[in-house]
C-alpha cells in the first residue's frame, strides 16, 4: 500500500494536478469545497453547462452465453450532477454500471473518467482512480460484510488508498456523523443495524475517500418508503455540500425522476431515451418510456399529490433510529423552506 505515487487529480482544484495520494486524508474536517454546486439544495445543476466528469461512449458487452447485455450505450455525467439510469431487469443497467466502475471490461466503447480513458489504464493508476469512483450497492443486508464492524468496512476503503491509521481514526467518526449516525455506530456489526442505517454506512464508506462520482446501484430500492425518503434527502444534501456526482441506477421511475438531473432509459441493453428528468416524466418520447411510465403504479396518486395532502405537518428529513438527538443530520432549514406550499 506504500506505493503512493501520483494522483490524477486534486479535489480542490478539480484539475489534473498531481498530489500525494494521502494528502486527501489530511484535510481537517469536511470543508465545503469551492466550486461545488452552491445553490440551495434541490436546485439542479445545469446539465449541459457543467464540466464533464464521466463520459461513456458506445459501450457494448456480450456475455459468454451469447447474451447481448449492453449495446451501444453512451452517457455523460457532469461534475456535481446526478444522472439516473432506469430500466427493468435485463435492461443492462447493472452491467453498464459495472463497466463504468471498471469492474467489467467493455467489448466495445470506452469510459472516460475526468478525461482519462479506463481502457488500458495501468493497474496501479486504475486502483488510485478508484478513490474517486465509488459505489453504494443495492441490498442493505449484503452491502456490508457481515463479519466486519462498520469501522472495519469503512477503514478498508481508506486503507486501500493509503490513509494512515491516524487519518482513518478521525475520518470514520466524521463520516458517520456526516451521514446522520453517531461515532458509536463504528463498533457495530451489520446485523445490529436497520436497513436505513446500513445504507447510511454504505454511503459513508463510499464517501470516505472523497470521491468525485458515486454509483448508486439500486441504493434505495430495498428500503421502506419512509426510510427511503430520508436516504434520498441525505444524498441530495451530500451532493449540495460536497459537489459529488451521482450515477443513480434504479427501476423506480419516480425515485429517479426525483433525484436525477438527466435520465437514461434502458431497454434490453439499449438506450431508448435520454433527457432531462422533468421532461421525461411529463413528455416521454419513446414508446417504452411511455409504457414504463404507464406501468409505474400509483402514477395517478402522484398526479393527485399535493392538492389535499398532507393535512398533518410532517417533519422534513431526520436520521433514522439510534441517533436521536445529537447525531441526526437534519436537513437544513433552507431545504425545508424551499418546500412548495402544501
Amino acid at each position: 500500500m506504500s506505493a503512493a505515487t501520483t494522483r490524477t487529480s486534486d479535489q480542490t482544484t478539480a484539475g489534473t494536478t498531481a498530489t500525494r495520494r494521502t494528502a486527501r486524508f489530511h484535510r481537517p474536517g469536511w470543508a465545503r469545497r469551492p466550486g461545488a454546486a452552491a445553490g440551495p439544495a434541490g436546485t439542479p445543476v445545469s446539465p449541459s453547462g457543467g464540466e464533464k466528469l464521466l463520459e461513456a461512449i458506445g459501450l457494448g458487452k456480450t456475455f459468454g452465453n451469447g447474451v447481448r447485455a449492453v449495446d451501444d450505450v453512451s452517457l455523460t455525467v457532469g461534475r456535481g450532477e446526478t444522472v439516473g439510469i432506469v430500466g427493468e431487469s435485463g435492461s443492462g443497467k447493472s452491467t453498464t454500471a459495472k463497466m463504468i466502475l471498471g469492474l467489467l471490461a467493455p467489448d466495445e466503447g470506452d469510459v472516460f473518467f475526468d478525461g482519462v480513458p479506463l481502457r488500458g489504464l495501468p493497474r496501479a493508476r486504475m486502483r488510485a482512480l478508484r478513490a474517486r469512483l465509488q459505489v453504494v450497492p443495492q441490498n442493505p443486508q449484503t452491502s456490508l460484510n457481515p463479519r466486519l464492524t462498520v469501522r472495519s468496512s469503512i477503514e478498508f476503503n481508506l486503507r486501500a488508498h493509503g490513509a494512515e491509521r491516524v487519518a482513518r481514526r478521525t475520518i470514520v467518526p466524521e463520516m458517520l456523523e456526516r451521514v446522520g449516525l453517531t461515532p458509536t455506530h463504528a463498533e457495530r456489526f451489520p446485523h445490529e443495524l436497520s436497513g436505513g442505517q446500513l445504507q447510511r454506512v454504505a454511503i459513508a464508506r463510499a464517501l470516505a475517500t472523497r470521491p468525485d462520482l458515486v454509483v448508486c446501484d439500486e441504493a434505495v430500492s430495498a428500503l421502506d418508503k419512509s426510510v427511503q425518503a430520508q436516504v434520498l434527502n441525505l444524498l441530495a444534501e451530500l451532493q449540495a455540500d460536497l459537489g459529488v456526482s451521482f450515477l443513480f441506477i434504479s427501476h423506480d421511475l419516480a425515485v429517479v425522476e426525483h433525484i436525477a438531473d438527466q435520465v437514461t432509459v434502458m431497454y434490453l441493453g439499449r438506450v431508448v431515451e435520454q433527457g432531462p428528468a422533468a421532461q421525461l416524466w411529463t413528455s416521454p418520447r419513446h414508446e417504452y418510456t411511455r409504457a414504463l411510465l404507464a406501468a409505474t403504479p400509483g402514477r395517478a396518486l402522484e398526479e393527485a399529490a399535493g392538492r389535499d395532502r398532507p393535512m398533518i405537518p410532517v417533519q422534513p428529513s431526520g436520521a433514522d433510529g439510534g441517533a436521536a438527538g445529537s447525531g441526526t443530520a437534519a436537513t437544513t432549514g433552507q431545504a425545508a423552506a424551499s418546500r412548495p406550499p402544501g
Binding site: N233, E257, A294, R299, A305, I312
Partner: protein, 383 residues
C-alpha cells in the same frame, strides 16, 4: 407436523365489540375481528398482530398496506392458519359466517386452497421445483375434487392456465418452474390459487418480485379474475402505488395494528392518520425539489417489539403525552372510514368503540373534510 393452533379466548377486549353485536353485512365474505397473533420463541413471546378487524366483501379488493415488520403478512397467514405450534391466534375469522379459528385441523385443510387461496410473494419459491406445472395444478384439483378423473384434471389445468392469460397452456403445463419467466410463474401460481374457485384470494406481495411492466399485467389479471370469478381479494403490499392502483379499500398497518381503513381513493386523497399522511408525503413525486422529501423520522419498530401506547407516537409530529401511554382504538370517523388516532379525531377517546364497517355512528370530526370527493384515484383510473 399438523397445523395446530390455539383458538382460545374469544372474550371481547375492552376495545372490541362482541361478535354477536356486529350486524350481518350483505356480501361480507370474510370478517376478521380482533385478530391477535403471538409467536413464542423459547421463553419470549412477541405479539405481532394486535387486534386487527376488517370486513371483506364479495368482488372487493382490500389492500393491507404496511412497511416491513408491520404484521401485514402475518395477518394474511393467520387468517389461513398457516402457522405451527409456536403461534397463538385469537379473535375471530369468519368465512361466509363460518368461524375458521374453531375448525379442526382437518376441516381447515379442506378450506385452504378450496375456499381461501394464497398467492405468495415469490412465485419461484412457491412452486415445487421438481414437478411440472401441470402436475402441480392437477394435484390441487384432485385434492379438492376427488371425483374428477386425471385426464379431466389435465384439461382443466390447461383451461386454468388459459384463464390466467397464458397463450400456450400445453407447453407451460409441461414445463418445470425454472423454465418459465417470473411473470409466467406468477401466472401459474395464480392459476393454482383460483383453480378451486375460492371465495377469498389472499395475495401476499404478489408483484414485489416482478418488473413494473409485468407487475401491471399481473394486477390487471387480478382485477380481471375478480370480475369473472367474483371472489374477494385481500392483497398485502408495501407499495403505496400498488395499493392505490389496485385496491377498492385500503387498510394501513403499523406495528401490528390497523391504523386507518377506508376506500382507497379517499384514504390516499385525504389521509387522516399521521402515519398514512407521512408515508404519502415521503413518496418522491414531481414538483418536490430534490432533498425536500418529507420523510418520517426514525424507522418502523421491529416486529414484536412495539413501544407502549400508540406505536407511532415516537415518530409522530402531532403526538400528545397521552399517545405514549394509551393505545388508540380504530374508530369510525366517517361512513366507511376509520382511523386509530385521537389527535386527528378528538371525539374518539370518550366515544364508544366501533368497528370499521359498522357504519352505525358517523362522528363528525373537525379534521375531516365535509365530504370525500371522488378523485382521480378511483380504481380503473389512468394506468
Amino acid at each position: 407436523m399438523s397445523t395446530p393452533h390455539t383458538s382460545t379466548s374469544r372474550a371481547p377486549g375492552p376495545a372490541a365489540a362482541t361478535t354477536a353485536a356486529r350486524p350481518a353485512q350483505p356480501n361480507v365474505v370474510l370478517s376478521v375481528h380482533d385478530l391477535n397473533t403471538t409467536f413464542a420463541a423459547g421463553s419470549r413471546t412477541s405479539n405481532v398482530v394486535r387486534g386487527v378487524s376488517f370486513d371483506l366483501r364479495r368482488g372487493q379488493t382490500l389492500m393491507l398496506l404496511g412497511e416491513s415488520g408491520s404484521g401485514k403478512s402475518v395477518t394474511a397467514r393467520s387468517i389461513m392458519r398457516l402457522y405451527g405450534r409456536n403461534a397463538t391466534i385469537t379473535g375471530s375469522v369468519r368465512l361466509s359466517g363460518q368461524e375458521l379459528l374453531d375448525l379442526s385441523a382437518d376441516r381447515m385443510r379442506g378450506v385452504r386452497g378450496a375456499r381461501i387461496a394464497l398467492v405468495p410473494q415469490d412465485p419461484t419459491g412457491s412452486l415445487d421445483p421438481l414437478r411440472r406445472i401441470g402436475a402441480q395444478i392437477t394435484e390441487v384439483l384432485a385434492l379438492h375434487n376427488v371425483e374428477r378423473l386425471r385426464r379431466a384434471g389435465r384439461r382443466q389445468a390447461e383451461e386454468l392456465l388459459r384463464l390466467v392469460g397464458i397463450n400456450d397452456p400445453k407447453r407451460v403445463a409441461d414445463s418445470y418452474p425454472h423454465e418459465l419467466s417470473g411473470g409466467m410463474r406468477q401466472r401459474a401460481v395464480i392459476a393454482i390459487a383460483v383453480s378451486c374457485d375460492p371465495e377469498v384470494l389472499i395475495a401476499d406481495e404478489p408483484t414485489t418480485a416482478l418488473d413494473v411492466t409485468v407487475q401491471k399485467q399481473i394486477l390487471e389479471l387480478f382485477a380481471d379474475l375478480q370480475d369473472r370469478l367474483g371472489m374477494a381479494t385481500l392483497m398485502v403490499t408495501h407499495d403505496v402505488g400498488v395499493a392505490a392502483e389496485a385496491g377498492d379499500r385500503v387498510g394501513v398497518m403499523y406495528a401490528g395494528r390497523l391504523v386507518e381503513e377506508g376506500p382507497a381513493a379517499q384514504v390516499f386523497a385525504s389521509p387522516r392518520h399521521p402515519y398514512t399522511a407521512g408515508l404519502l408525503a415521503a413518496l418522491p413525486s414531481p414538483g418536490v425539489p430534490r432533498g425536500t422529501l418529507r420523510s418520517i423520522p426514525g424507522s418502523p419498530p421491529p416486529a414484536g417489539a412495539f413501544p407502549a401506547g400508540c406505536a407511532f407516537a415516537p415518530r409522530c409530529p402531532v403526538a400528545r403525552d397521552s399517545c405514549r401511554t394509551d393505545d388508540p382504538p380504530l374508530v369510525a370517523v366517517a361512513p366507511d372510514r376509520s382511523v386509530a388516532c385521537p389527535v386527528v379525531n378528538p371525539a374518539s377517546p370518550s366515544a364508544p368503540p366501533s368497528t370499521p364497517t359498522a357504519g352505525a355512528v358517523d362522528i363528525p370530526s373537525p379534521a375531516a373534510p365535509p365530504a370525500d370527493q371522488p378523485s382521480a384515484l378511483s380504481k380503473g383510473g389512468p394506468r
